[in-house]
């Protein structure tokens, strides 16, 4: 049978008041879950967007005027969209000073109807000039993609060799991409001619249907490192913006908007965590202080039996430490499970790309949150603990008679 020590006496005291202990644990859990869950989610989002410029490979994206947002949502979350501009602009952009590479993409939104396997963003890309898609292929294509083949994003469930159907055309999956953390993960890539034939089949361009080959959705521009993307845009803008009715999406600008949003989100998360942290400290302080009288007798008795003041302070601090530790662990575990299960869904609903943090980083976050949680107990109970051991021991015991 186990000895009754000051350490397990603290545990017995927690067990003795299950309702009070559970309430305290829940308050602390709210703090640790908010801080851990919020921090991990922010890190996931931050990782998702921080490397996006590199992942995208392009510094400027040219889109039809008014479709900047459509491109952003297509890139960020793969939300299917269709928009078009004249393809002859490609040759004009190529000759602009500071432009290193240019590659067009053709966007088609498939349908969740009988014609198509699922509703996804179909992207036609030019294999010769492409610098956006190829770097993400899991395995290099041994030969160029044919018009009957497609490359699928990492989150498309079909595998290499499977058949996939869009607008009643069957395609064979020739390759799969690595995870990009962007909308590309839920997109399907094909040759520009294949995409154009789908456009025809789907009647996506009205009027000038004989010349649909002259259209693309977006032109991705890579800028020479010696030039600033905004200088390149400044050259293009006066020449073509009106004639071609186009607008420019700067990768850095898009990311800075997202960063601003992320900063706002982090302010909310950290403010909420700070409120819960303070709330936990105040509640524990109030509860421990209000139970002073109730516990004076128990403390006096332990003094009489030979417990020193420091032993008793340790016992009381240990009680609050155990409560903090339990709240911290439960909060981190619950937040961890929820983030693991719903991270993708949360990111999709927010509309931003996410990349899961590494296990090591996750453990470091959990440890930091846990340490911050551990402080709550002792910080809020030190006053009660010290004042409980200062009274006239025996007088208190007799007063309780």
């Amino acid at each position: 049978m186990q000895e009754i020590t000051i350490a397990n006496l603290a545990w017995r005291n927690i067990q003795r008041r299950p309702f009070r202990s559970c309430c305290l644990i829940i308050i602390i859990m709210l703090f640790s879950a908010t801080l851990f869950g919020g921090s991990v989610l922010m890190k996931n989002l931050s990782l998702g967007i921080s490397g996006m410029a590199n992942r995208l490979g392009a510094d400027i994206m040219v889109v039809p005027y008014g479709y900047e947002k459509n491109l952003e949502v297509a890139l960020l979350r793969g939300e299917p969209s269709s928009f078009y501009l004249k393809a002859d602009l490609i040759d004009r952009i190529k000759v602009i000073k500071g432009v290193e590479a240019v590659s067009p993409q053709l966007f088609i939104a498939s349908l969740s109807a009988g014609c198509c396997t699922s509703k996804v963003q179909l992207i036609g890309f030019d294999q010769q000039s492409d610098f956006v898609i190829k770097p993400w292929l899991q395995t290099q294509l041994s030969q160029p993609l044919t018009d009957q083949q497609v490359v699928v994003g990492s989150k498309i469930t079909s595998n290499v060799g499977d058949e996939i159907k869009f607008f009643n055309h069957s395609f064979k999956i020739a390759a799969k991409m690595d995870s990009t953390g962007m909308g590309f993960d839920t997109s399907v890539f094909m040759t520009i001619p294949a995409a154009q034939s789908l456009m025809k089949a789907a009647n996506l361009i009205e009027g000038d249907t004989d010349h649909f080959v002259n259209y693309v959705s977006s032109i991705f521009v890579k800028v020479d490192p010696d030039y600033q993307p905004k200088d390149v845009v400044n050259q293009m803008m006066p020449k073509y913006a009106i004639d071609y009715n186009i607008d420019f999406v700067m990768t850095k600008g898009m990311l800075s908007n997202i960063s601003k949003w992320l900063n706002g989100f982090s302010t909310i998360v950290y403010s909420l965590s700070a409120i819960f942290w303070l709330l936990a400290i105040i509640v524990i302080f109030v509860i421990f202080s209000s139970s002073l009288n109730e516990r004076k007798r128990e403390i006096s008795l332990l003094r009489i039996l030979g417990a020193s003041r420091s032993d008793l302070v340790k016992m009381l601090l240990r009680e609050s430490l155990i409560i903090s530790a339990l709240g911290g662990i439960v909060g981190v575990v619950i937040a961890g499970v929820l983030i693991y299960a719903f991270s993708l869904l949360i990111c999709q609903s927010i509309g931003l790309p996410c990349v899961n943090i590494s296990i090591t980083d996750g453990l470091i976050y959990a440890l930091l949150v846990f340490l911050l949680t551990l402080i709550i107990g002792p910080l809020s109970s030190i006053y009660s603990a010290l004042s409980l051991t200062k009274f006239d021991t025996y007088q208190t015991l007799r007063e309780g008679e």
Partner: protein, 221 residues
């Protein structure tokens, strides 16, 4: 000499007036003594007992147990000393409600570090000797006043102290329970443990070898 109390005084302030709850008390006791201190309520008996146990610091004087002056020790040392050399039986109910009888008895044993020792067998022996083994798993809420007091006495013995101090050990108990408690205390004394009890009951005091009387903080003849 086991215990020496020398010129012990404890002053308190009541409103603006200073008074001595214990006033210049001296006495001593040996290993085989059984002393009772008698006196009316407010005579200073409990204050004296608390100073002897090192729970209260005197205004003047000293208490020496086994040659150690308690008031030269710091809080940790005096707590360990009390735990090791003194068994204290407080007045009234003094068991922790969330511990069983056996756990209450064993509690003092763990308050000071002892290596490779267990109090379990000795606690069971004490329960058997006091013929209350049936109480070992009972919680205080399910015990009578007499049973609780006997458990408190056994708890005072768990560290095998040289001196047991009891404050009104039979207060609030019926005659039969009082007799059982005193029989248990007498037995403890006969086993070689010195006993110092505070009481206002003549019957209880009659069990002791020597009676000291207190009035207004002083020992009187």
């Amino acid at each position: 000499m086991l215990l020496e109390v020398k010129n012990l005084r404890k002053d308190y302030k009541r409103a603006t007036q200073q008074f001595s709850a214990v006033n210049n008390i001296s006495f001593s006791m040996d290993q085989n003594d059984f002393i009772s201190i008698m006196g009316k309520s407010g005579s200073g008996k409990t204050t004296l007992l608390n100073m002897i146990a090192g729970l209260l610091t005197p205004t003047q004087g000293k208490v020496t147990i086994n040659g150690t002056n308690l008031f030269e020790l710091d809080d940790k040392q005096v707590s360990a000393f009390r735990n090791q050399y003194l068994g204290y039986i407080p007045q009234g109910s003094s068991l922790l409600p969330n511990l069983t009888a056996l756990e209450n008895i064993r509690l003092p044993f763990s308050l000071t570090k002892r290596e490779n020792q267990s109090s379990l067998n000795y606690a069971l022996q004490l329960l058997e000797k006091a013929q209350i083994s049936y109480l070992k798993d009972a919680y205080p809420a399910n015990m009578s006043g007499g049973e609780m007091r006997r458990i408190a006495i056994l708890r005072a013995l768990i560290c095998q102290p040289q001196l047991v101090i009891a404050d009104e050990p039979t207060s609030d108990l019926d005659e039969e329970s009082s007799a059982q408690i005193m029989a248990l205390l007498t037995d403890i004394h006969q086993q070689g443990t010195a006993l110092l009890i505070v009481t206002h009951d003549n019957d209880v005091a009659s069990y002791s070898q020597r009676r000291l009387k207190m009035s207004s903080g002083r020992l009187i003849d």
